[in-house]
Assembly symmetry: D2
């Protein structure tokens, strides 16, 4: 073992991370600082204090990070209309850099020389925590117990608890789900168990945040979201904080059966994995933001964003939020959002998010140009002939020189 | 006027293109060849023969191009999961290169030196027709009457008909829609009229191919689509031709309220325009193809396709199907599809397309690696530590040299 | 003719633009304002005043824009290591947006409603001037005499001069070159005449700014260029203004036979054209900047810049400097340059620019990690095994499933 | 140690890999098969046979792979004008996949279950060998002695030789270079020793393949290279095999002081490293191929290649030659090369490669369009006005709506 003196642990208050507290104290003979954050996962964080105290922890950090999470991580990501592999809204990925940042800041405050987390050695989260930690504090030690210990079955874990007087009822207060789950204000995710066969449909019982489209109301809900420079600032005319915006959209979306996806995704560590996600508010925001951009963004600005987006999504998915490349792409994206201001009107109905209206004081939609009616000279149709001729010139020259598409492949 | 001798006209049989026949004969004193294609627009094409004859046309081409359209244009495009500006499935764009190709082939067969079309000077279709024509026959003349004539109002057009004995009931057989529409097997589009205000919701009456989600059945429909090397080949176990696949999906999708979008898009000629589209089968195929790829495609192959897609979509939208750049991107895309073979199971319900299962003899999903359970040594979690350490190395060095993200913007 | 009242002309003081002054006064019956800029083309600009006065111009603008040109246009472009089509350093392209900007600003100051330029209808410069003008003053009229008039041969032009008492000796003071040339602080270009056959070698007589490598000194010249946040700020320890930096490098480079290229390039208007360019200082700056970045830039930052560069170059070449997409890419590029600070040492010898040293207080080159010698634990070679294993995982799974590269294509 | 039974070793015949033979036999108690390839490194490979025999090796593979190397690896890469980080022609990177392929094929032939190589744990070559091996034979074991053993100093290595009767004079036949070197037909590389300080200029003594520009002849050498579909096929009218082409260009280039670079590059394993490279023939081919493309390639085909190139280069540099993404990009690149046929004329002089002429039966350069003289109607300059107007439309609308660039940053 290395000579770690004090370690900051991302502590949920659950059984696994409680075992980790004890294991770190024993194996590393080091002091453990716990850090528990409210990111909107929907569980109380304050009970973690008592549990940590019972485990002999002296420095206990419990923080409500919901506003920071949405304002500084979720919203910037949504400015890019970010989707990983065409389907995944990165709900887990985007929370990790904030946790990594706080782990390191707390390490700096408490004089700790290491951080620890409860992520397994097969997933992306270990990568995201650790890349963030190394980027922010290059000399830090990282302890990932799941890659080190031999408590790899439920049975050995339970035995460990018994031997070390860790109260096992920690995790039995709520009905145990067979799925591996992660939640924050942006989404809740499910992996494992019967999802490991990608041909098997998920059970209705699994989903926790939304009703199914079948169970959603029979009448649509209309909402208006107001944007300012790329970020939502009000719903139905009521100004709200970032976290409140997302909470509100989660509620409305969840009630209308919005935001479930069931995908097989490619992990950074190299394998494919099945995941089911509920992202009600995020699903609404994605459509709304695009609609807002559709009337306020220059064409080439939009296309440039669209081309850079998959790479931006991959960088976040792979855990490189705290990197030069993410900062650079963010600068490009943010430089486009100044005028993405206005209002989008949406119809929500049984899983559908339909854009039904958009308006903006900065709208670039100019009906006097686009109209099928008389445009009073706003657009000279004869310009189109020259436009087409010169766009075609390179192809006409090639064809004149005998290159043709008609008899090729 | 130029010295055009014979012109091939894309002739719908409707009023506008009938006027164009007469106008070409008069203004250009040239022979007119008509070409009418069945691309699945849902209207009889044979009646165009009689109308053309009545206008004195001697060479009349009427063709059923549905299979070629889907096999050689729609399917290759869907291999790329193509979407323009995040929403538009390119239903109109993808039909134009085939029409351009046939116009030119007919010109070559009939010895014509020009082609003509009925697209306006404000839209993308003029560009798509003409770029195709110039690329395939560089010396061809192109006549776009809407950019030339002064019959720009309904009234002047009607007067022209009266003066030239063109039967005006041409267009009155069906209830006249106030919208400008275009249809083929992939979609039907609506533009103009009240859509010119992007804040106004579309009327339910406008939509023709699908029921609204509200009107769709209250019970879901499950289907299975079978893919072979990137293209769908069977539905619910029944092998079908390309056009039949799409027709079948259109029917099922339309019945379940699937495939409507309402967007503001950026035209190649420089303005924004509101368009509403129904693409029931295409919407299903997009989700199904991605799901098929999710278990059969290598991660980096998928990401490369995703990054190239927006550009590929733009090239098609802008009318450059018959270009080197489209061929090159197609080669890249097609090189990835060999193993995109298997079956996708979908749940269709009131506008939703949910992927609920996917399987393939070529699946790269390996549950023995991905499992949360014991993997019998398929994956060594300790490898992850080295993987992360070296991925972090460049950032650790930078941070050691004093570059930090904590106090930068 | 339109109802232009006052037009600002980009006026060189040469014969062609002098004819344009007169032609504008006659044809458009409008007042002409002349604008002559010193961009480092190596000719006096002050004589343009007297000539303009002789043509009856009342409002005459003559300006030294060299510092603004280099600081706000050349340097930002070089931060991206910009090259068009692998060879061209964009010497002409980068000057046009500044001229367009000043034309519009002067139009605003003088109440002019139009701008005019002397570029032909076949080249890129008309596009660059006019796109800039329209972007900065959307209602402006643009007059491009070469696209309108019939003075298309030297003879008709001379006759026009005689008829209108324009002194023809304007252009005879220096030996007339057979080439079409353009010059500014970044480069001088040659087109036309015998260059129109791309198989014919350029004549030694053509080149004006540099000696040939053969004529350059037999001993190398060493220089050191100091960078600060991406821009050069000193040469051989002497701090200099942006324009002086470039003038100095042009001189040193020209003396050492550096910076000639002879290419066939693709114009935005659709044809290929042969061009020869001398860019002595720019050629040195390109190598020097890359070398500076090689020790100060993060790997992924560099690769992201490299991937975006060709598009950035195209945007500038095509005349879209004043566009959202250029601003966005600039934001991305500039976000990478904060630490591109230090010194590069170069050996210049008969056309060669060799990087022989680079150092920086922000260097990310860490010899303690990279060394072949004992690194005292800075890098654990065992990490590499895990790194490789997980990078290979997706390919191993594919190969296990029977996909192999050995017998494919 | 694992239960490896037989291992195929990439064996150079030098001291280090001879020690590895013995070490593998001892540590792994396994049979060793040696594989020695002539890739044009300029050393006899046949002597490796006797050395291997002396070490008790029974299965000895010695092969001349020069033609396959150039035809199937170097030429395809040069079709893309591939450069890593703006400077490096990937001379080492491109040889590794061929070696990996032969190692695996030999393993399959000999029934070996492992491969081994002599690359260190800090470099890129270990990654390239191993990624290739895993992709081609997923169950193979890989042994990288430099990551495992403790013979990490020259002294311990010598002691090992003495103890095991390995003749140390192996490596003393030629004057020992202080640099770590690698050579094949494409290049020779130098790393380590005094190069570890990036401010220190390389010694003239280090370079082995080329004279310095100063030492090169005082008169230029002109050559003509003939291309067929993207690959060089003849020099000065003489048809040659791929390897002979490259050997010939290496000779001519080296005599003229061509192809030295001195760079700091970013390794895949995360650190920066100084490398010096001599690539005489490759440097000539890069310029020649671009020049050939400049008259035969469509503009957008060229730009698409240019944008994809940095990623293609990175994939090769990082060792992913045997990957789906490389195959896909190769398909895109190769689809552009059909007409890249013709002749390039070059002037070589003291380190400079100047393109002085290019011609092709497929040339798209059309002097009748490009000419400054009368073009007899080949191009209508008035088309340019419409072309510019519509290209400017989006920007004019934005400016009319109050968005201006004049007072923004």
């Amino acid at each position: 073992m290395s000579d770690v003196k004090k370690v900051v642990l991302a502590y949920s208050g659950g059984l696994d991370t409680s075992v980790i507290v004890k294991w770190l104290q024993e194996e590393y003979q080091c002091e453990v600082v716990t850090f528990t954050a409210d990111l909107g996962q929907g569980e109380e964080v304050e009970p973690a204090r008592e549990k940590a105290q019972a485990l002999g922890v002296n420095e206990i950090y419990i923080e409500d990070l919901r506003e920071e999470f949405v304002r500084d991580f979720v919203f910037p990501m949504f400015r890019a209309n970010t989707i990983y592999e065409g389907e995944y809204l990165l709900g887990t990925s985007i929370a990790r850099p904030l946790i990594a940042k706080r782990l390191i800041e707390i390490a700096n405050e408490t004089g700790a020389d290491a951080i620890a987390h409860g992520a397994t050695g097969k997933g992306n989260d270990q990568v995201r925590f650790e890349l963030g930690a190394y980027a922010l504090k290059p000399g830090v030690s990282v302890i990932a117990p799941w890659r080190e210990w031999d408590l790899t079955s439920r049975e050995t874990l339970m035995n460990y608890c018994e031997e070390h007087n860790i109260p096992v009822d920690f995790s039995t207060k709520k009905k145990k789900s067979p799925y591996s789950m992660d939640a924050n204000l942006l989404h809740i995710s499910y992996e494992g168990d019967q999802l490991e066969d990608p041909w098997v449909e998920s059970e209705e019982d699994m989903w926790r945040w939304s009703v199914s489209p079948e169970q959603a109301p029979d009448t649509p809900t209309y909402i208006e979201i107001e944007y300012k420079s790329g970020d939502p600032v009000a719903i139905n005319g009521e100004a709200m904080s970032p976290a409140t915006i997302l909470e509100t959209l989660n509620k409305i979306g969840g009630e209308n059966g919005i935001g479930r996806v069931d995908i097989v995704e490619n992990r950074f560590v190299g394998m494919k994995a099945r995941g089911c996600y509920e992202t009600p508010g995020g699903t609404i925001m994605l459509r709304a933001h695009r609609a807002m951009e559709s009337i306020t963004l220059d064409r080439e600005a939009m296309h440039l964003k669209d081309e850079i987006m998959p790479r931006y999504a991959k960088v976040i998915y792979n855990g490189f939020w705290w990197s030069e490349e993410r900062r650079m792409m963010q600068a490009l994206i943010d430089a486009s959002q100044e005028f993405v201001t206005g209002t989008v009107r949406l119809k929500l109905y049984k899983g559908n998010v339909e854009v039904v209206g958009r308006k903006s004081e900065y709208s670039l939609f100019d009906s006097s140009v686009a109209t099928f009616e008389d445009d009073a000279g706003a657009y000279d149709q004869k310009d189109a002939a020259g436009f087409i001729k010169l766009n075609a010139l390179r192809m006409r020259i090639a064809a004149q020189k005998g290159r043709t598409f008609l008899d090729r492949d």
